[in-house]
């Protein structure tokens, strides 16, 4: 198994700042906007962006939640392993809000399809956008595209994009791994 670095810590940091600025461009003070990290891996990126918006860009009204999509996935009973559920933490109503889904890698689009269904349990959003750190553009199974993307990657199916965060792996780095 070989792996190469797609983004190092410095590049991840620059991209996070750019994504934060792009969000501010569209959502200004975030009063009508909520950020929703897709569990399990989107939560790290969502937390990081929320901290950045609060601390570096002094935006006070950031509402952040985490959405688990396990029970809404379309591959229940289809894989070898059972699907493990994660926590959903959404303590606000999304009715008439601008929702920004945040996930680390956009691959087939199936997770986002599940998230689109799952979020309906919390109300009818005004609109939904998608922010993703890595967009694997040639791997889509569904017509789903990101609104904001960190880096576009052309990877083949046999390769895997691995995103490590300071919080779970000790450093911010993105690898392209040959399986």
């Amino acid at each position: 198994m070989s792996q190469k670095v797609l983004l190092n810590s410095k590049e991840v940091n620059i991209i996070l700042h750019r994504l934060a600025c792009q969000l501010i461009e569209n959502h200004e003070n975030f009063e009508e906007t909520v950020l929703v990290g897709i569990q399990p891996r989107g939560r790290f990126l969502a937390n990081r962006l929320a901290d950045l918006l609060r601390e570096e860009y002094k935006i006070k009204s950031i509402q952040l939640g985490h959405l688990d999509i396990t029970f809404f996935r379309d591959d229940f009973r289809r894989g070898d392993k059972p699907l493990a559920a994660n926590t959903t933490e959404i303590d606000f109503i999304v009715e008439d809000k601008n929702v920004v889904f945040i996930d680390d890698v956009l691959h087939t689009g199936r997770s986002i399809r599940s998230a689109l269904t799952a979020i309906q349990s919390f109300g009818r959003p005004k609109n939904i956008e998608l922010l993703t750190l890595i967009d694997r553009r040639f791997s889509r199974h569904l017509p789903i595209q990101p609104t904001y993307k960190g880096r576009q990657v052309d990877a083949i199916d046999e390769q895997r994009v691995k995103v490590n965060w300071l919080e779970n792996a000790g450093e911010d780095v993105v690898y392209l791994v040959d399986k």
């Binding site: 029970f71 809404f72 229940f76 559920a85």
Partner: protein
């Protein structure tokens, strides 16, 4: 992720500690789901579940049906009083007839102990035991432990007394297994006539003095006196039973600590517990009912994930 070690939920006896932890962790997520504005998830939309109740039930049946519907399963209900069982059909024939309508899972309550185990050996479907005679009632024990975990932060090391009619109670046996598996200390308390002779072989202690039992415990699970299962008289009168084994507010307030009161329902108010106890903050009876749906969703979800397409 780990999966359940069993393909059916026939009794707590067949589970291990990891199974119980997995069920509780999954139930945590379902508890969050059933408190959303929209309480339903689509996971089991291609699963059909038959609820076969060969014995009366209100809350267990409702709880299972709600759990199944919240998971988007298709549900069919059957009760023995309106069926061909009365015409002499055997259990295996009845169930096989239902299964030929492409049913994936069977939730069954039956008056005979071991009916679930028997069925699991003869039919091709995942079986959940919703009570088999005086044997086991695994989902009740799971929701009881889950409720203790929720209220006290854990089950391990807690002292739990089960009070009342132990002899006829499937809730008692399943609770003893479940609590011991999780490291709780268990005592039973009741009239000697209603305590099985060899209960101590399960590692539980017998206490016939209710006050002593309550002083010892963190949790008291008050069982209902099951008059319908009693062919003979086990105690002189209901009044005498209440005097010796009923919990009232005066008794509860006289203890030097605040214990948790549980009851699997239906309550005979004024017999095993008085109304002011049942409605007090110490009682978690309605939490048990709410948790019942979440725990049953978890059990059904985890068993369904083992049914191959």
């Amino acid at each position: 992720m780990s999966e359940l070690s069993v393909d059916h939920l026939l009794g707590i006896k067949y589970l291990n500690k990891t199974d119980i932890e997995l069920i509780f962790e999954t139930a945590d997520q379902f508890k969050e789901v059933i408190n959303r504005p929209i309480k339903k998830v689509p996971s089991l939309r291609d699963i059909t579940i038959a609820n076969l109740f060969f014995e009366n039930s209100t809350r267990t049946k409702l709880s299972f049906e709600l759990a199944e519907k919240r998971l988007s399963a298709d549900v069919i209900n059957f009760s023995a009083s309106q069926s061909s069982v009365k015409k002499g059909e055997t259990l295996v024939d009845t169930v096989n007839n239902i299964l030929s309508m492409k049913v994936d899972m069977v939730v069954m309550r039956h008056p005979n102990p071991g009916a679930g185990v028997f069925l699991s050996k003869h039919v091709k479907a995942s079986i959940i035991n919703a009570g088999d005679g005086a044997h086991e009632h695994p989902t009740q024990a799971l929701l009881d432990s889950y409720s203790i975990r929720e209220r006290l932060g854990g089950v391990k090391g807690k002292n739990v007394v089960i009070v009342g009619d132990i002899l006829h109670s499937r809730v008692a046996l399943s609770n003893i297994y479940a609590l011991q598996l999780q490291g709780a200390n268990v005592k039973v308390c009741g009239p000697k006539t209603l305590i099985p002779k060899y209960i101590e072989s399960l590692g539980v202690k017998v206490e016939t003095n209710l006050r002593k039992a309550l002083e010892w415990c963190d949790v008291a699970n008050m069982l209902r006196v099951q008059n319908e299962r009693m062919e003979i008289s086990y105690f002189p009168s209901t009044r005498e039973y209440t005097q010796q084994f009923g919990v009232n507010k005066t008794l509860l307030d006289s203890l030097d600590k605040e214990i948790v009161i549980m009851h699997p329902g239906p309550i005979n108010r004024g017999v095993e517990i008085t109304s002011d106890v049942a409605d007090s903050k110490q009682a978690i009876i309605l939490d048990q009912v709410e948790n019942g749906v979440a725990v049953r969703m978890a059990v059904i979800y985890l068993l369904a994930s083992k049914i191959k397409q």
